[in-house]
Every structure is written in C-alpha cells, then in structure tokens.
C-alpha cells in the first residue's frame, strides 16, 4: 500500500465511522509520514469540537424578531381557526333553517291537501 492510498482513506477512518483494513493499519504503523497526517486529522476533529463551544453572540434584537414572527404566525393561526369555527357554525345554522323550512312546507302542504 502506498502513502497516496492511505492519504485518500484517512479522512474517512479518522472518526472511526469506517474501519481501516489491515493493510492500511500496517502501513500507518510503519510510516511516519502517514502517522503525522493521521495526527493532523485527529487534531482537526478535536478543534472542530472545541469550536462548538465558542459563543457567537447575535446582534441585539434577534430574540425580539423571532418572537414577533412566531407571535404573528400564532395570531394568524388563531384567526384562521376562529373563522373556520364561525364558518362551520354559520353553515350549521343555514342547514338547520333550511331543514326547518322544508319541514314546515311539508306540514303546510299536507294540511292543504286534507282541507281540499
């Protein structure tokens, strides 16, 4: 196995996500150049983890902006829900009125038939 082959494989195996095959491990064990490269990848990953804890402070006002957008969405949702409920109630009232009207017309029609 050559150093170039190892170099291609190192970014994949450095975090243990992929296992290094025996030939690669033997090469790294005996090659100072590849050991140094592997150490650099490990240092890179350690530093990436350290950056995770770095605080990047947002400019003032971000929290207020987020909450305002969420509140706006909440109000829209509440309004939509209210309108939907009213629509349902309105449709129900129309249906009830129509049913009552139909029943009344039926009764009135029967009485007229009997009178005739």
């Amino acid at each position: 196995m050559r150093c170039e082959d190892v170099s291609q494989a190192l970014p994949e195996i450095v975090d243990g996500a992929a296992t290094a095959d025996l030939a690669l491990r033997r090469h790294v064990d005996s090659c100072l150049h590849c050991q140094a490269e592997l150490a650099q990848y490990r240092k890179l990953l350690r530093t990436m983890h350290q950056l995770r804890t770095e605080v990047l402070e947002p400019a003032p006002g971000l929290l207020a902006d987020i909450l305002a957008r969420v509140e706006e969405a909440g109000e829209r949702r509440a309004l939509k829900s209210l309108l939907t409920k009213r629509r349902v109630a309105y449709a129900g009232a129309i249906a009830a009125t129509a049913a009552a009207g139909a029943a009344g017309a039926l009764i009135f029609g029967r009485r007229r038939l009997r009178a005739a």
Binding site: L44, M48, V55, L56, V70, A73
Partner: protein, 188 residues
C-alpha cells in the same frame, strides 16, 4: 419545567412555553446558522425561519431527540434552502478542488503550538470552504448529526454527504497544516 415539558406545553398551545424554548436555544441555533451561511444577515433570516417552522411543526416533534437537535436539523434545512435560492455567496465560485493550503511558514499553527491560533485559523478555513462542503463538515464534526440526518436535511444522498465530508476534512487539513517542501516531495 424541563425542555421536554416545555415542548409538550408549547405543542398544546402554550405560547409562553415556546418563548422559553426560543430563549434557551436561540444563541446556539444562531451560531449554527452563522457557521452554515457565513454571514450575519443570512444567519438572522435562517434563524427566524427555523423557529417559525418549528412553531408550525411542533406537533410533529416526536420527542425522541432533544429539542435543540431538532432545531439543528430544521436550521440546516432552512440554510440549505436559503443557499439554493441563489442568495449571495462570496465563496460559491471556488472550485471544490482548488488548493487552499497556506504555504507561509509563519502561519504554521503547529509550529506556533497555539490552540487559540489553531481555532482562529480553522474558523477562517471554514469560512473559505464552499457552502455545500462547509454545511456537511459543520453538521457532522461540530454538531454530531448522523450522516443520514445531514443527507435528509440537505436533500442529498447519504453517500454524497460522506463524500463531501471527506473532501471538506481534507481541505481543512491542508489549510491548517500546509505541507513543507520536503513533505511535498515525499507525496510525489
């Protein structure tokens, strides 16, 4: 209330609980958005959009992950959407294979032995990465998201996510630890 209780209360319509969740997580979410987009203006937009999506989708949050991890995924997705919308990306024009190594020996952090300098240089190197490479390496190596989750949120295959990760790691290493002439000769 702990985070799980806050999520449950917010999902039930308690806006105060959602506000608490935002307060507890927004600086962290902003940091991720900034690292993904590379600039403050886009990061602010991404964070606001992410919390809006979270608010609308709270009932879909299963609770098997932490709320912050869920927010990372939404943020990654929002950042990816923002980037594909063709917003300004000052590094997009860089080719994936363009050499990034800084050959100036005085900038060798190993020689300086300074962890702080190394972090500063890594921050600079991350900013110079093309956004599609930067997104994968930040989400995986900084925020520990699984490959599949990263692929899902960025709209790519898991295999593509891995290829980008390895490419990004290689370029960062080259940038942080530039080869000496002797090493370059060894590589040939």
């Amino acid at each position: 209330m702990d985070q799980a209780e806050l999520v449950a209360a917010a999902a039930a319509g308690d806006s105060r609980a959602f506000e608490e969740l935002v307060r507890a997580t927004y600086t962290d979410v902003y940091a991720l958005a900034y690292r993904l987009t590379g600039n403050e203006e886009d990061a602010r937009d991404v964070v606001q959009e992410a919390y809006l999506r979270a608010y609308k989708g709270l009932k879909r949050f299963r609770g098997d992950a932490r709320f912050s991890t869920w927010m990372y995924r939404i943020t990654a997705n929002c950042a990816s959407t923002a980037m594909t919308k063709g917003k300004k990306h000052r590094h997009e024009e860089l080719e994936d294979e363009a050499p990034l190594a800084d050959a100036r020996p005085e900038h060798d952090p190993e020689a300086a032995g300074d962890a702080e300098l190394l972090r500063a240089r890594l921050n600079a190197a991350l900013e110079e990465l093309p956004p599609r490479l930067r997104a994968v390496v930040v989400l995986r190596d900084m925020y520990d998201l699984p490959h599949q989750a990263i692929a899902d949120e960025l709209g790519i295959s898991e295999a593509a996510a891995k290829v980008r990760l390895h490419r990004a790691r290689r370029r960062l290493r080259e940038r942080l630890f530039p080869k000496s002439e002797e090493e370059s000769a060894h590589a040939v």
